[in-house]
């Protein structure tokens, strides 16, 4: 790949000399994503946001050549990070790769919406996020993992199990669960959050 800096020799020197501080702190990024997943940690999200946002804004701006659209890419990408952090698995790739995939997919769907006037959001089928990608390749290890997951879920208190199973295995929305279980939506949300936190911790232990 050609270096962007090749035409700027003096600038290149500056970049090289500070290259140590320019290294991406991958473990910090992973840590933040985990905190978002487990604790819905806004501080951690702010860390992730401040790292990625200026770069996403710049990349989207140069690709779309439109400030409003670049802002939309930024907003969509980062909301996906917030909503999907629990799906990030650092054993399957770097945080940068994961966020890049989300950004590229959001941009692709947006461009398609404009050019072909189609809101079919095909990007996640074309470029599945790492977590989904492996279901076809590693069906064996995935099978073991989902058995493992089920085992861990069964250690949860009964009322949390109900919510988790409904949400993940039956793909019911939180609203549907509230109706189904005849509970306030807030209760569903807090049970799910509690359960998620415990699951993350327990599954984390298994990995280590």
């Amino acid at each position: 790949m050609q270096s962007v800096h090749s035409e700027l020799p003096s600038h290149q020197a500056a970049v090289t000399s500070s290259s140590m501080t320019n290294k991406i702190d991958h473990s910090q990024l992973c840590q933040w994503l985990k905190s978002i997943a487990v604790d819905r940690d806004k501080q951690a999200f702010t860390g992730v946001f401040k790292f990625f946002a200026p770069k996403i804004q710049r990349i989207a701006q140069s690709k779309l050549n439109n400030e409003a659209l670049a802002a939309e890419v930024l907003q969509d990408t980062m909301s996906n990070v917030w909503r999907k952090a629990h799906l990030f698995d650092d054993s399957k790739g770097a945080a940068t790769t994961w966020v890049y995939t989300i950004m590229r997919n959001v941009t692709f769907d947006l461009l398609r919406k404009m050019k072909a006037n189609k809101e079919d959001n095909l990007s996640d089928d074309i470029w599945p996020l790492a977590e989904a990608l492996n279901t076809e390749d590693d069906s064996f290890s995935d099978h073991i993992q989902s058995r493992n997951l089920l085992g861990v879920i069964e250690t949860l208190p009964e009322n949390q199990q109900q919510v988790v199973k409904g949400f993940y295995f039956m793909e019911m929305s939180q609203e549907q669960l509230a109706v189904h279980l005849n509970l306030p939506l807030g209760t569903i949300k807090s049970r799910l959050r509690l359960a998620l936190g415990k699951l993350k911790l327990k599954l984390g232990e298994h990995h280590d």
């Binding site: 501080t21 806004k42 770097a94 089928d125």
Partner: protein, 227 residues
């Protein structure tokens, strides 16, 4: 064994998100059947991501302080707005298979195609075609089924034609093709695929096919049919 793969630059465009949906889907389906290209895509994606998100002093070079400040303010707003939401993405349940049937044979479609809208199947002789409705202007995408013993007469293209073999086999003067083969032809090429037992292809073309041999010119309506 798969012998025909996307070029390296096509894989790069794929990773960058710069291919039209039709071709991107073709590359994705090939990668689903070809561990070698899958691996290349994974590596390329890592590299591109790393390069995109590297700290770079370009930012300081081209952005003055005033810009940075307004950006910072916006950022806090956006962070607040995003984190105010309680939504959590549900984990994907096992995907639901989608299948199509041509001439009595049922085919399970690759996941890449599961949400695309399909047009009605049209038939001429041993050829059946279902359009994939991607609305990409001159680029037309089809599922093309060639029944047992069928062939496509020798033809050329003004533009490009991608044929991704999804199931079955076919052969042309270059040899035999197997599922996963990614065959990209342009106007320099001619070919005449024929299948003994029938096959299903995913095709993308940006112009009608042109039949080249004497009497086959009469078949040019088939060229438009396939396109």
């Amino acid at each position: 064994m798969i012998k025909h793969h996307p070029t390296f630059s096509m894989l790069q465009n794929f990773v960058d998100g710069d291919l039209p949906a039709s071709l991107a889907a073709g590359v994705a389906m090939h990668a689903g059947m070809c561990p070698m290209c899958q691996q290349k895509i994974i590596q390329l994606t890592e590299q591109v991501a790393e390069a995109n998100f590297e700290e770079s002093s370009d930012l300081d070079l081209f952005t003055n302080d005033a810009d940075m400040k307004t950006a910072e303010l916006d950022f806090d707003d956006i962070i607040g707005e995003i984190t105010a939401s309680d939504d959590v993405e549900p984990m994907k349940a096992a995907s639901i298979e989608r299948s199509v049937s041509f001439k009595g044979t049922q085919y399970v479609l690759p996941n890449v195609l599961r949400n695309m809208s399909l047009g009605k199947t049209a038939q001429i002789g041993k050829l059946s075609r279902a359009r994939i409705l991607l609305d990409e202007g001159e680029i037309h995408t089809n599922l093309l089924h060639i029944g047992a013993g069928g062939s496509i007469p020798e033809h050329t293209h003004k533009g490009f034609e991608l044929t991704l073999l999804l199931a079955g086999t076919f052969a042309d003067e270059q040899g035999e093709y197997v599922p996963g083969d990614f065959i990209m032809l342009d106007k320099r090429h001619q070919h005449q695929p024929a299948t003994e037992l029938g096959c299903l292809c995913y095709t993308v073309a940006n112009d009608a096919l042109h039949f080249t041999q004497g009497i086959n010119k009469l078949l040019n309506p088939i060229g438009s049919f396939i396109y």
